[in-house]
Symmetry: C2
Subunit: 255 residues, 2 copies
């Protein structure tokens, strides 16, 4: 039997289970709130075209108004100035986005400190137990539990948002020393909430895009994936010239 037929048979029989890592899209989906003079994204909104009525007697459908970077979404390299000559979201070969996942769970640390930053040493300790990180680097912080409430999700006070992230030198080390497809997080962006004040600002965005790698944000249900052995399928829409896209992200795990 071929590998594909084996795979397909296991999906049918339930030997392989599909975990939905995607947040539902609706008007309450949290969005970033940048201070003036910066531009902001529109909230996700459906606009009804017809619903079994005079505008369409047998059919229901909507227009969609949203941002490229809303809900669970993919950052393409051209999203950031360091990747401006890199790939748009439509130029990413979709096969690159299907890859094994290394899932690092630091929810206990983020619970103690919302500004927690993952360090190289934290990754090395994880590797001593689970092996070298590769494929999708998925960073669990428990932040998905907050995604139903925008204020709780962005967790901002007078000094700005406070959400966990990855230290600048840890991202640089991952990109230089490990072979990863990209970084996936449960927060609104791949950088920590306080990264506007880092030097340089937003180091995770800058390093990922500059290396032609990808970001995945607002993931949920990472707790259902094992530390290693899952395969993640991350599919954005092929928006020509797009800087990113709402994405459907699925984890395949053995039952």
């Amino acid at each position: 039997m071929s590998v594909l037929r084996d795979f397909s048979a296991q999906l049918c029989s339930g030997g392989i289970r599909v975990v939905d890592l995607t947040a539902p899209l609706q008007s309450t989906t949290p969005i970033l709130q940048l201070p003036p003079p910066f531009g902001n994204t529109v909230p996700f909104q459906l606009e009804e075209i017809s619903r079994y009525d005079d505008r369409g007697p047998a059919w229901y459908w909507n227009n969609i108004h949203t941002g490229e970077h809303t809900g669970t979404h993919l950052d393409a390299p051209i999203h950031w100035v360091t990747g401006r000559d890199g790939r748009s979201v439509a130029e990413i070969p979709p096969g690159e986005l299907i890859a094994p996942a290394s899932v690092l769970d630091f929810a206990d640390r983020a619970l103690q400190d919302p500004d927690f930053l993952l360090q190289v040493n934290d990754v090395q300790v994880w590797e001593s137990e689970h092996g070298t990180v590769h494929g999708w680097f998925l960073y669990r912080t428990g932040w998905d539990a907050r995604s139903g409430d925008q204020d709780n999700f962005l967790n901002a006070n007078e000094t700005g948002p406070h959400t966990p992230g990855i230290a600048a030198d840890c991202v640089a080390w991952l990109l230089a020393e490990r072979s990863i497809v990209g970084i996936g997080v449960e927060t609104a962006g791949t950088d920590a909430g306080a990264a506007h004040g880092f030097d340089p600002p937003f180091p995770c965005h800058g390093s990922l895009a500059g290396s032609g790698r990808y970001g995945l944000t607002q993931l949920q249900n990472l707790a259902e994936l094992p530390p290693t052995g899952a395969v993640v399928i991350a599919t954005g829409l092929p928006i020509v010239g797009g800087s990113g896209s709402p994405a459907r992200v699925l984890g395949l795990v053995e039952s």
Copy 2:
């Protein structure tokens, strides 16, 4: 070695190839044009928020305005009145949308007759060579070659659009006698262009939705899939209450 690790290794080594079945999304992506008094979808449009400028010095991003049923997309059962008590697009278990594909190529017939309708007998002749259809029923007509030009794609004259489809009794037979996930086509909708005049109108939409099954439209590159043996991953966005969604559709084939 586990099935998932085998699968992942084959993806890395190129033993399994990913074929993108998705049309690029841009302002020229063809959209349906319904006559008055019916509502119509907005064209796909990006609205720039910032591009490495005063509105966002280090970042480029856009808002998106589109329809749920634009480009390569997924029809959920509630899209049609026959499925109004069925699933919205967010309620479809994503594992159902990863399935083996039966790919039926009738491009030669559609070239001779743009109103060509697939009949039960055509499917039975195909089955005598390739086995029983199952999983995703993908119907190739060569129509993807027209997708760069809306007029050529919709192919309308004074009697309305003329694009190939599936006969009403063939769809009913597929749903009653075969186990399929849904029907995928290269045209703007799962019904033939002339189906507004059928009795009942739009039988493919009505039967699919009434059976809780799914439609996939404006596929491309079906010619790169074998008649059997490919696995198709069709991922829409989990739009709460949505009638459908732009989708990324990928075919996995053995090299």
